[in-house]
């Protein structure tokens, strides 16, 4: 079971991360276009379509990656207070009720849409003689299939959680909170101790805050508390 969903995770991570680099491409394509248009007076006709393709492919192809990271936004103000097993039951039911019809519909419809486009060799109509867009439309069924695959992995996770009562651990990946590391490892004015405490605890803090709970164990703080108590005693 575990190898099943970890394999799918790997596929999603890989496809998502590969497509993520399109943002760097997008940045440079547009910047070069600025240079061309304003300085060299040589605008490119297909740039509008190119931008859309880069952006559209970027976010569609990263859908599975985002799902694998559990980063799709959810209204979790009730959910977080449930026990893992109940969370899994709820998730499992909703994967079949909402996720499956939505995504399968998208893949089916996207396949027809792309097939039509390929058949007529569709070109963009934004400008006269626009670039071909059939491969861009093909992104829809492909991205849908990836999301569906990842959905199967999530269903496997739910089943495992129902069996064991614990959510299986996800693979490591970058998180927003990682910036704490980057920032603090260069800091000159924060004392060694609180820096270490924050850097080690950042992930746990993030996790706890997302669940609207406070880490009661105080693992992170042991050292800091001592120091604070000394501070408190002084005045």
């Amino acid at each position: 079971m575990q190898s099943f969903y970890h394999t799918i995770d790997e596929i999603s991570y890989w496809s998502g991360k590969a497509s993520a680099w399109l943002i760097v491409a997008l940045t440079f394509v547009v910047s070069v276009e600025v240079f061309k248009r304003y300085i060299l007076n040589a605008p490119t006709a297909w740039i509008f379509d190119a931008n859309n393709m880069l952006y559209g492919t970027l976010f569609m192809m990263c859908g599975a990656y985002t799902l694998a990271l559990a980063a799709h936004v959810r209204a979790d103000f009730v959910y977080i207070y449930l026990r893992p097993r109940w969370q899994a039951v709820l998730d499992l039911a909703l994967y079949f009720l909402f996720f499956m019809p939505g995504i399968i519909g998208l893949i089916y419809a996207g396949y027809g849409y792309a097939a039509d486009s390929w058949r007529i060799g569709e070109h963009s109509t934004v400008t006269a003689e626009g670039p071909p867009i059939y491969h861009f439309k093909t992104v829809i069924p492909i991205a849908g299939a990836l999301v569906l695959l990842q959905g199967l992995a999530e269903i496997a996770r739910c089943i495992e959680c129902i069996r064991t009562g614990q959510w299986p651990v996800r693979l490591e990946d970058v998180e927003e909170i990682d910036v704490i590391d980057t920032q603090l490892s260069h800091s000159e004015y924060v004392d060694e101790e609180s820096r270490r405490v924050a850097m080690e605890g950042a992930k746990a803090i993030d996790e706890a805050a997302r669940h609207r709970s406070v880490m009661e164990e105080g693992v992170v703080h042991e050292m800091a508390i001592k120091e604070d108590k000394d501070q408190e005693k002084k005045p």
Binding site: E176, T182, Y189
Partner: protein, 674 residues
């Protein structure tokens, strides 16, 4: 087949379904698919030929080609890169030194730095944790009130999602079909107004009751000054300027200086305030008198004051009219940029004075739009005087602070202002400025690590840019091409060389890229879901049912506005801003014309309103982030208590915005016409 009853069922189901905590994008997609299937069901039709399949794919493709949403990855990328490029810790230290004489200086600094850093990145959790580490402990050590300290961090940390360039506003623009540029212009003043209110509150409290924010001991902000700089202080004011300039010609004067290069470096740092001021005024001059002058007809529409004249005016008068129409934006640019430029310059001026001053200036400009030259030269003289005074009083310590500011705040500040100015004044298209902003952020990231190489490459790039742009021979275009060339070369040269050797650079770029992908996918998939859902909802007549129902209540515009904001405020407790704006705003937006509420004003108010939602106990995440890094004896309740006043201030700000819509709408109307 469509049935309003089904529409209502949908609405009820969506609320329940969202509460079940399933990823919202797929909840919406699934519900839309099921109900759409029912809506399009026709007897005798094959089940796979249902029109819902056309709808879903067209909606998806619509999101994929939405050129408003195209902004999201670019701005998010810019934010993530900046977040890694600029060291907050250093910034905090420098700003704190600059504000050391202000009451509650640590709190004021925290507010300013987190607002500023939030402008750049706009990520709440990280800002709060980081400020919690950098400033919470020093504040508590200095004996600050716990409530003051925690309130400042949590309120400051959420400002980033309001002040442009913010992703929230892009998302609203995409939902409401409004121009992002207009919304950015609209959110500008309320954003700074809210920051100003926060600062007034902090300062007022600190002055009223100095015990909550004791002054730091003198050794806390002593600046270390090298001996040779001390020797250069001249006269009663101990100004360092004459001595330093003299030392440039006679290096023997600065005996202890390590090298001549150091003196030159210091002179460059000394000229930064001067350059910033001159640059601001020069850009203002160029924008009004050169950039806009030849294209008088292109100016979208004259502002209300000249609107009457426009209908009467003969075609031969467009130039004069454009001159009238264009002064206000320029003045505002000057005022806005001035404030930020003035922050390092007039380091001793109290921040609230600065912001109110801006406010006053802006208002004054609104009344007399025709006096460009008076205003320009008046402001120029004023800045020249304050600069002169600043240099006059610059002793070695002040100079060290200036150097710190130049190294930490100025690069990021200049980039942010340039990006905003380029967007607001319509110099490039929006997408282009976002991309150039992202490139600029990359440049800063490279520069922060490899300063020398980056500068050499930039010089090379600038030369190439000038050569390539030479054909046009226009001075301003040459500057633009040179700076573009410099940015390209300075980013790509050292960046690519060190990409192989520096794991840190590699990791930063990787992290920023992957996080951008994650955030973009999260927001845009939500759009895919909601686009389908809202189409099906309208198909069932649900939307018109709600409209009829609201209209039958005979609400006054004030009543409607109040109820709408109240609902959004309440929704802000359990939900994230993405869901509120993408799912619930579309319900209100079609009703706005009935009540003659400007969708831009409404959107800005929603953005401000959500600030309060982020500060509301017991669900506000920022409190939990702060609690995570706070010492153990700080309780969650203390943090919530510290946040409460800021919630009230946000409500006050909303009231101001309602009573005084000009604050929001003035800037977009002057920049782009009605």
């Amino acid at each position: 087949m469509s049935d309003p009853a089904l529409g209502l069922t949908m609405l009820g189901l969506i609320v329940i379904a969202i509460m079940m905590g399933f990823p919202t994008a797929f909840t919406l997609m699934g519900l839309g698919m099921i109900f759409g299937y029912i809506a399009f069901w026709a007897p005798g039709q094959h089940w796979w030929q249902n029109h819902i399949f056309d709808l879903v794919v067209q909606r998806t493709y619509g999101v994929m080609t939405n050129d408003t949403l195209l902004w999201i990855p670019l701005f998010v990328f810019m934010g993530y890169i900046m977040e890694r490029a600029a060291l907050v810790d250093r910034m905090f230290h420098a700003v704190q030194l600059a504000f050391r004489r202000v009451p509650a200086s640590l709190a004021v600094t925290t507010m300013l730095v987190s607002a500023f850093w939030g402008i750049a990145s706009g990520i709440v959790g990280a800002v709060v944790v980081l400020m919690g580490v950098i400033s919470f402990r020093p504040m508590l050590k200095a004996g600050y009130d716990v409530k003051l300290a925690s309130g400042v961090i949590t309120a400051g940390g959420t400002l980033g999602i309001l002040i442009p360039p913010s992703v929230m506003i892009i998302v609203y623009a995409a939902v409401a079909g409004q121009s992002i540029v207009k919304l950015y212009a609209a959110a500008m003043l309320p954003g700074f107004f809210l920051t100003g209110l926060y600062l007034v509150y902090i300062l007022g409290w600190a002055i009223w009751n100095p015990k909550i924010a004791p002054r730091l001991a003198d050794d806390q902000y002593r600046v270390t000054v090298p001996d040779w700089l001390r020797q250069l202080e001249r006269g009663k004011n101990r100004s360092i300027v004459p001595g330093l300039i003299a030392a440039a010609f006679r290096p023997a004067l600065a005996k202890g200086a390590a090298s001549y290069g150091l003196i030159l470096q210091d002179i460059v740092a000394l000229s930064v305030p001067l350059l910033l001021t001159v640059g601001t005024f020069g850009a203002a001059w160029w924008y009004v008198l050169i950039y806009n002058a030849p294209s008088a007809q292109v100016v979208s529409a004259p502002p209300p004051i000249t609107a009457a004249a426009a209908t009467v005016a003969a075609p031969e008068a467009p130039a004069a009219e454009a001159a009238i129409a264009d002064q206000p934006p320029e003045e505002l640019g000057a005022a806005v940029e001035e404030t930020s430029a003035a922050a390092p310059v007039a380091a001793d001026t109290k921040p609230e004075e600065l912001s109110t001053e801006t406010q006053a200036r802006v208002e004054g400009v609104g009344e007399v739009p025709a006096h460009f030259f008076q205003w320009f030269w008046g402001l120029a003289a004023l800045s020249a005087l304050s600069l002169l005074y600043y240099f006059w009083r610059m002793d070695a310590e002040q100079f060290e602070i200036l150097k710190e500011l130049c190294a930490s705040v100025v690069p990021l500040g200049v980039l942010t202002i340039v990006v905003l100015a380029v967007i607001l004044f319509g110099i490039c298209t929006a997408t282009e400025s976002a991309a150039v902003g992202a490139l600029g952020a990359l440049y800063l990231a490279v520069m922060a690590r490899y300063l020398k190489e980056c500068l050499w490459w930039s010089v090379g790039g600038a030369i190439v840019g000038i050569v390539l742009g030479w054909a046009h021979a226009d001075f301003v275009e040459l500057i633009v091409s040179a700076s573009l060339g410099a940015t390209f070369a300075g980013t790509l040269g050292p960046g690519l060389i060190h990409l192989r050797t520096s794991p840190e650079l590699r990791q930063n770029v990787k992290e920023a890229t992957f996080l951008t992908a994650k955030t973009t996918a999260m927001v845009c998939w939500l759009f895919v879901g909601s686009a389908l859902f809202s189409a099906v909802f309208a198909l069932h007549g649900g939307q018109s049912l709600i409209e009829r129902w609201v209209l039958s209540m005979n609400l006054s515009p004030l009543g409607f506005q109040f109820i709408a904001q109240m609902i959004i405020f309440l929704l802000g407790w359990p939900l994230e801003w993405t869901e509120i704006i993408v799912i619930f705003c579309p319900i209100f937006i079609p009703l706005l014309p009935h009540f003659q509420i400007d969708p831009i004003l409404f959107g800005t108010m929603v953005a401000v309103n959500l600030q309060a939602a982020f500060l509301s106990p017991p669900v506000a995440m920022s409190a939990f982030y702060l609690k995570g890094v706070a010492p153990k004896w700080v309780t969650l309740n203390q943090i919530f208590a510290g946040m409460m006043p800021y919630m009230l201030i946000v409500c006050l700000c909303l009231v101001f915005m309602y009573i005084w819509p000009g604050m929001t709408l003035w800037l977009p109307e002057f920049l782009y016409g009605k």
